[in-house]
Symmetry: C2
Subunit: 356 residues, 2 copies
Amino acid sequence: MPDGDFSLNCPIPLSDYPHVLLAHGGGGRLMNDLIERMFGPAFANPLLDERHDGAVFSAPQGRLAFTTDSYVVHPLFFPGGDIGILAVNGTVNDLAMCGARPLHLAAAFIIEEGLPMETLWRVTESMRKAAREAGVAIVTGDTKVVDRGKGDGLFVTTAGIGVVEHGLKIAPGSVREGDAVVLSGDIGRHGMAVMAVREGLSFESAIESDCAPLAAVTGALVSDGLSLHCLRDLTRGGLASALVEIAQGARLRVNVRETAVPVREDVRAACEILGLDPLYVANEGRFVCFLPAAEADRALSIIRGFPVGKGAAVIGHVAAANSDSPKMTPCVIMTTAVGTERIVDMFSGEQLPRIC
Amino acid sequence: MPDGDFSLNCPIPLSDYPHVLLAHGGGGRLMNDLIERMFGPAFANPLLDERHDGAVFSAPQGRLAFTTDSYVVHPLFFPGGDIGILAVNGTVNDLAMCGARPLHLAAAFIIEEGLPMETLWRVTESMRKAAREAGVAIVTGDTKVVDRGKGDGLFVTTAGIGVVEHGLKIAPGSVREGDAVVLSGDIGRHGMAVMAVREGLSFESAIESDCAPLAAVTGALVSDGLSLHCLRDLTRGGLASALVEIAQGARLRVNVRETAVPVREDVRAACEILGLDPLYVANEGRFVCFLPAAEADRALSIIRGFPVGKGAAVIGHVAAANSDSPKMTPCVIMTTAVGTERIVDMFSGEQLPRIC
């Protein structure tokens, strides 16, 4: 480990165990080895080092946020990331969208018998680095192995605890008429990066996933004292689904200008090839922020101050709705490039399965 | 729902959706339906009802305990339980073994495309009842669907948060020479219940899993002011692995009397048929408690006061070890029925894969 950053060698001898065996999840000696040699040293911290059934720590001052997600992305590795980076950042971002500062993660692995040990090690290393970058500790975990043909290499489930150090209620129900809708950057990259690998497509410029931790950005918005009403990251279902869910939760209308939504040219071209609408394509490092229009410029300048938020833009605003009037139900309306209006709805089928 | 306890009908119309589709995990309308019609009403509570990316709640007074486990048991249903009951009780019990009072669970589902919708509903109902019985709320969750042949029906991962309302440090490192080892009941039932179904065995009396929540029992031990040194539930790897892990963590010897360890006759017979040692067979409602010998009788009487602890017994005690002496290393020594001594070690292979 010359730079202290990456161990080149898998700590489980590959000559003895080139692949994960059922016994690595059986609760006996091999599972103990996997924990003591691979997961333990990679994620080392005082809580995990206790090796108890769970982690015990002092409750922080403030409210708590708690969330979980399973990650089943296929393939496990894609341009710009892998399942391990997703599993850390995805849960960190869900905490960030609660307005919380992420503290601790739990990680549960469901491994298919026969997974190359080296693959498990690469994912573990990715998780270690992603956790360090996001400032969280992996304090507890679990390992299960399922028989060959009953899984798909590796599924990772993370849960996270964060602390909410402010008095805001950040939720769809807090959104108000007149709020500005701020988007943190261009959309569609994660979904297209994964699909390009899966479909064997190659584009002139490789599209990389936007996967990134967002807690530093949302933390800066909170620290600045902005009146944040709602935050939402744009994962499965993309920007469209996030906006529809918020409009329904708020019982208001969200108006969006199509020309204001940044989409990279290569992403747009890839979407066209695959017949996809970038509005529905998954992102792993993008979010929307709803707050009073008067504070939108301040929010923009804060978000743009982070590498992950360079492309931030105000993309719309919130208007009244009236559930009793069929023509005024809560929904998302998009003004297209040619000036017409269309309703943006949730999609009905599967657009991109196993994208995260 | 005549008794308010069980909804006979799956809330997703089975004529439209007899099986789970990829789209039920796609982030669109069908996933929204699954959450709003099935998971939401079954697990309803004010935190889950917010439908945010995570649950936000006031931090309780005391330290926090945090744990996670994935459940991949095969088959999904077995005598005395199912994957849903396991997923709730298993995580509740891990919190209990930290000496914590369980508060909130997160539940993440990885569903294989084609799972009968009715099966998902039965598991959901089981989780609802188990959570109510254990006094915890399922406050946040996630749903993923993987393509046919890439999973095995259903995997469930739960994470849990509990509050530690005392000053004890319950961990292997707190175990002391002279401690008594109290076992909460007969061992081996869960593993043999699952194996009997899997191997198509039938015994004269059906063996049912011992799956049960243990937090009420451990809570009573804590409330009584006992000097608890270590608690550990006897899941994968059984009693033997739990004792070996604690002996190693404590750097002490654990002496156990074979005749003091309760094993039901039908469980012993089933183990013999399958060539298994009950010491290594998984339990889901049993634990060991290490505490000063002078307090063992009080602990026994408290544990026996709960239905789940009727068969509690003192099975051994803790003696000194000396890591520098090859003949005195930390380990588990069992005095057999005929008076000889043997070392109890972790097993090396997989004894019972996918038992939880």
